[in-house]
Assembly symmetry: C2
Homo-oligomer: 463 residues x 2
């Protein structure tokens, strides 16, 4: 089938308005938020409205031998959803129905195009809580979250996306529909296929529905902030918090560079003093006396580790203001240039070493690197600032990006904690998982997608 | 290679004492605890002492074309570890080292032959907690737990085995060693292979090491017991406990038949009265005031649902005594004959219907069926009692076993919540997952084990 014939076929299947080919329009579907990742020009962008249309698209593309790149909102940070030349971008945003909320069994059934925040709000009306909260939660979709196994700020207590998944419906490479998983809390009938598709970044199939378990709605959070004059003291505090068995609902770290950017942007003083090298922000959503006890224990640990600022508040608005300092870091960095955020996860005892490593890299490449991260789970986001129109700076930013991964791996970490491999960390994935791991990946990909139809060349290459 | 040559080769590789061929001896390695499952006569039982020996055994068997059945302690309840004629039973019990306990990162590295209880005790010395606690926890092994994705009584709060797994080492069908997963809390570098191997019942590879995350040691539990004059009232209480967002650390149900067996065996009165049709046993390990509040809320729900007994104690010994009534049920049933325990998981709102269904089946087949179960997660274990030397009773027991699964499926449940598919539920698995699901299972199995070396015919057949 010629490209032209495929487009005609897709228009017949989905209707004209659901098949975009104008390159000015398709360009806005060709990339996610990762500046380092390459992207190509798609043959077409299609917006199917239901699972049958997804199946029809997959069958048509399979027949034509045209690769498919599945895509949600495009908030990703690894280029996993970036188009390749001549592909069909399969956008799932029109599958946006919350099919069912079952409070008696604390579960919901949801389509991939539902925006994370809309889903959170919908289940909250039933007193329920969907934990995964990536930073883009107000515009990213559940389908993208599933495909990348997205994390967020809640992971220290509530885990990542895969920990909420009970079952999936997936359109396979031959267009057939796999229904896998269950509606029960437990179940061991067969291989855990649902968790194989979660985090597979669109390389194995197209997720068209998910059954997820929900948690009871937590209490309003109490918030703690602690400031340290050395990075090591903050790192030691995190390690002690873990070792003493405390599980806050949020535990974030900001390095000196992040603090400064945030203070400048917010035109405020975070109260940490000018010699503050690291801030910890913690929350407890356990409520009342328990929350007070949890945060008091964390505050004590911070003080014991030498924090010269340690402050706890139960006032919601004040807590929100404190967290704001963390949430604005990326925006604040835009004052200095374009940001490029990396994603490594290290053992929780090694956080200070990672930050020190980033300081060293920063002075080596001569670029600002601000480290923010989910300290409670060791998932750090060192963020490099560069001038996009300066080729040399861009090259140095890329060098810094790789050097950070090098440090992460050397500390016993992984090259991606939550953003994924996509089109920017293929070589790093190969290095982390080794030749046997890569072979098993290829075997599974070849078994489920023998023609390499789905997102070819993303995550790993088949040769 | 002839069978004889393979045995000679295995003896050369492992030493004579680690290769058993005396059929009187190998018979004790040929079966697990499931009476319904077929078993064959192995060519040999091998007990490798380290990963290199496991790799050597796999290579030798692959070369000889002799299938391998991996095995832990043999506490399984699905025949998954049962020998087939002419196979090599690969027993992992000599890989019994706790390689590392890392309290700073709350993780441990453990070999498959370590007994669950020994591991729990070892980590407890560091103030840490390994949640999975199948009933056989005092003799089952971590390797068996991983292979079956074992559950237990803690799952309502702490999940199943796979929820603790960070990484695995697995010997593949060509003898190579796959190291997959990570030592960090989060990580999305590649497919979630670790969770594909967990619960794959020895059909994809031999797990030789696991990295697991640990929890802070919980507080000493407070215990609640509630008695109901109708099954429906108890079922309604469970549904309300879930709906109101309560998460006890244990929530078990016993039906009238279980209560009676237990009371007779323990020569005691559980205080529930002669018209008690269902008991709920709950625990909170949240400690102090929080535990008191949790159990008070559960007690209130039970009373609102019509419980005529509802009693809470913080006394550890008294709590242990109350739980004893649940723990002795299987032993108590042995007074009446041999037990055959089934394993279904239903949505938590459907528990009473499952119990009613079992009562109906019991009167249809004319056999005692006692239902005990993990009410908090809907995982029920209806247990059929029969005379093993009575062929007709055995046939009726088998009929009841299948009829229970039928009811479970009709309630939106799964045919196995935690025991696995093994050699007894292959047809039921095929029915639950459907033709597309079965095809994907076969594709993955063929990709990783093209010669069908590992546990062939278990879980599903390749044709």
């Amino acid at each position: 089938m010629s490209d032209e014939a495929l487009v005609t076929r897709l228009r017949d299947l989905l209707g004209k308005s659901a098949v975009l080919t104008d390159t000015d329009v398709t360009a806005s579907y060709a990339r996610d938020m990762m500046p380092l990742a390459p992207s190509g020009q798609p043959l077409a962008v299609v917006l199917p409205a239901n699972v049958e249309e997804v199946q029809a698209v997959v069958k048509a593309c399979a027949e034509a031998g045209v690769p498919i790149v599945p895509r949600g909102a495009g908030s990703g940070l690894s280029g996993a959803a970036n188009a390749i030349d001549g592909c069909v971008v399969l956008t799932l945003t029109k599958l946006d129905e919350i099919v069912e909320i079952d409070p008696g069994n604390r579960l919901a059934v949801v389509q991939p195009g539902v925006v994370n925040l809309d889903f959170r709000n919908a289940v909250e009306k039933h007193g329920l809580f969907y934990p995964p909260d990536p930073s883009s939660y107000d515009w990213c979709t559940i389908g993208g979250n599933l495909s990348t196994n997205a994390g967020g700020l809640c992971c220290v207590k509530y885990g990542v996306t895969t920990d909420s998944v009970l079952g999936l419906e997936v359109v396979l490479a031959d267009g057939s529909l796999l229904k896998t998983g269950r509606r029960t809390v437990k179940g061991v009938a067969g291989y855990d296929l649902a968790r194989l598709f979660v985090g597979s970044e669109g390389t194995l199939g197209v997720i068209t529905q998910a059954t997820v378990q929900l948690k009871p709605l937590p209490q309003a959070p109490a918030t703690l902030v602690a400031g340290f004059t050395t990075t090591e003291a903050a790192g030691e505090a995190v390690a002690r918090i873990v070792r003493e068995g405390l599980v806050p609902s949020l535990l974030e770290i900001m390095d000196a560079s992040s603090i400064k950017a945030s203070e400048t942007y917010l035109k405020t003083d975070l109260g940490a003093g000018s010699d503050c090298q690291a801030l910890l922000l913690g929350q407890s959503d356990a409520g009342g006396e328990v929350a007070r006890r949890e945060l008091a224990a964390i505050e004590q640990i911070c003080t014991d580790c030498g924090a010269d600022l340690a402050y706890t508040t139960e006032d919601l608005e004040e807590g929100r203001m404190l967290l704001q300092a963390r949430r604005v870091v990326l925006t604040a960095l835009e004052t200095y240039g374009q940001w490029l955020t990396d994603d490594v996860c290290v053992p929780r005892t090694r956080i200070a070493e990672l930050i020190r490593g980033c300081e060293k890299i920063s002075s080596e490449v001569g670029l600002r690197i601000a480290v923010v991260g989910h300290a409670g789970d060791g998932n750090m986001h060192p963020t490099i600032v560069y001038q996009p129109d300066d080729e040399d700076e861009f090259a140095r930013a890329q060098r810094a990006f790789d050097a950070i991964l090098e440090v992460g791996l050397s500390l016993g970490g992984t090259v991606t904690g939550e953003h994924g491999v996509g089109k920017i960390k293929r070589e790093w994935l190969a290095r982390e998982i080794g030749p046997v791991g890569l072979r098993v990946h290829r075997q599974i990909k070849a078994a489920l997608d023998p023609e390499n139809l789905f997102n070819p060349g993303s995550m790993f290459s088949m040769t």
